[in-house]
């Protein structure tokens, strides 16, 4: 039984690595490799000087069903650590804070009609804004997937 269990674990780890998903023994939320994370639970995917931003699986799970997303206008500036929009869930309006600074070049208009995409697909269809970066050096202050997973674990166990 022990051999079968360790084989399954090895297979799972290899599959996870192929799919670029991190697995941690006690991870209840999904955390993706190749993304960077803020301690306010937003993620950013960087491609050149362009970045896509959303909220993490941990955040959407803790917020509950999202019923409304307040989006910024295209063309506004965002600053690292400052709020640029909000999500409404349950009875709460919660700020979304930008993990990067730059100019908003696109917003996910689908969220106006389908705010639940933030819950169902926080890293893919539930993306919130795309930003033209003004300072890629800021990325160094963000967490990688490993640090973020640990951060979430510590928060939940506090």
């Amino acid at each position: 039984m022990a051999m079968a269990a360790s084989s399954r674990l090895l297979w799972a780890s290899r599959a996870a690595a192929y799919l670029r998903i991190s697995t941690f023994p006690r991870a209840f939320s999904t955390v993706l490799k190749d993304l960077k994370y803020a301690d306010t639970h937003e993620w950013v995917k960087v491609e050149g000087d362009s970045a896509t931003v959303g909220i993490t699986d941990h955040a959407q799970d803790h917020l509950g069903d999202v019923v409304y997303v307040e989006l910024p206008e295209v063309g506004v500036s965002v600053s690292q650590g400052k709020n640029f929009g909000a999500v409404e869930s349950v009875k709460a309006a919660s700020d979304i804070n930008s993990p990067v600074s730059g100019e908003v070049v696109e917003v996910n208009e689908k969220l106006s009609e389908e705010p639940g995409l933030v819950n169902a697909s926080p890293y893919e269809k539930g993306w919130i804004i795309k930003v033209k970066l003004s300072d890629s050096g800021e990325l160094n202050s963000l967490m990688d997937d490993g640090k973020y997973s640990k951060f979430c674990e510590e928060e939940d166990n506090h």
């Binding site: 306010t40 803790h62 917020l63 509950g64 019923v67 409304y68 307040e70 650590g81 709020n83 909000a86 409404e88 869930s89 349950v90 009875k91 709460a92 309006a93 919660s94 700020d95 804070n97 928060e155 939940d156 506090h158």
Partner: protein, 257 residues
């Protein structure tokens, strides 16, 4: 910090209009670093207060509101639509996220903490429950909640029905998004009045301050001395104008104000 507990200022906001009350709280949230409890005892005139995303045409009988010139305010927090008047008591708690040890700044965590706090206030007066996101005696709601959560701070505010004028409820539609325990009841079957359970408003407000005193060192303060004339701060709280409401009627709410 006193005895390892955070300080909280308690503010009696008086009898402010709905937009002034909500705007002040938004300013306390975004422009100060202190913990606050604001108690606002009644609003004149009767005012409809909506959450950040509420669609006016779905929640409010606009023609009646326009005819009777009832003010409509959009507040900065989430949650539903209420009509507030002299019988409503607002209690707002504004906290730094580190102020309550172990409390994560997420809606359900804060709601649960609030339910325990208010349980201490209400348990001896009735069968108190936090039902979904409402405060209720048995199955009848007397307190509705809304929150706003920023990076390092959060607001939890409650509109308490000390008393209400059933005629005012006629300005509100029954919302599509309603708690399950409402069971399609109309306003009068769903709600109850606190004054039928408690002897006086002051016993209620004193009870709130005492319950907060278990978590904070509470100091009474005057609201006007706290809020500076911060001309840079622009609240998102907004009083909808007659023009805004008329536009909604004619556009069938393709735009949001």
């Amino acid at each position: 910090m006193t005895h390892g507990r955070s300080k909280a200022g308690s503010l009696a906001g008086g009898n402010d209009a709905g937009d002034a009350c909500n705007g002040s709280e938004e300013q306390l949230l975004r422009c100060t670093a202190d913990n606050w409890c604001v108690i606002n005892d009644g609003t004149a005139p009767p005012t409809i207060v909506m959450g950040v995303s509420g669609r006016v045409s779905e929640l409010v009988k606009i023609q009646a509101v326009l005819q009777d010139q009832v003010p409509v305010v959009r507040r900065f927090s989430g949650g539903g639509t209420v009509i507030v008047d002299q019988g409503t008591v607002f209690v707002t708690v504004i906290c730094n996220k580190a102020a309550v040890a172990g409390l994560q700044p997420f809606p359900r965590d804060i709601m649960s903490w609030s339910g325990q706090l208010y349980g201490k206030v209400f348990d001896r007066f009735g069968e108190f429950h936090l039902r979904e996101n409402d405060y209720a005696f048995s199955h009848r709601k007397f307190g509705g909640n809304a929150q706003s959560i920023t990076k390092n701070r959060w607001v939890h505010h409650t509109s308490f029905l000390w008393d209400y004028d059933v005629k005012n409820m006629d300005y509100l539609k029954i919302p599509k998004r309603a708690p399950e325990y409402r069971l399609a009841r109309n306003h009068t079957d769903f709600l109850c009045r606190m004054k039928e359970y408690m002897p006086s408003r002051s016993i209620f407000t004193d009870g709130v301050i005492m319950a907060l005193g278990e978590h904070f060192s509470v100091q009474p303060t005057d609201l006007q001395t706290v809020l500076s004339d911060d001309e840079e701060f622009v609240p998102s709280t907004k009083l909808l104008s007659q023009h805004d409401l008329e536009e909604i009627v004619y556009s069938k709410e393709s735009l949001r104000v």
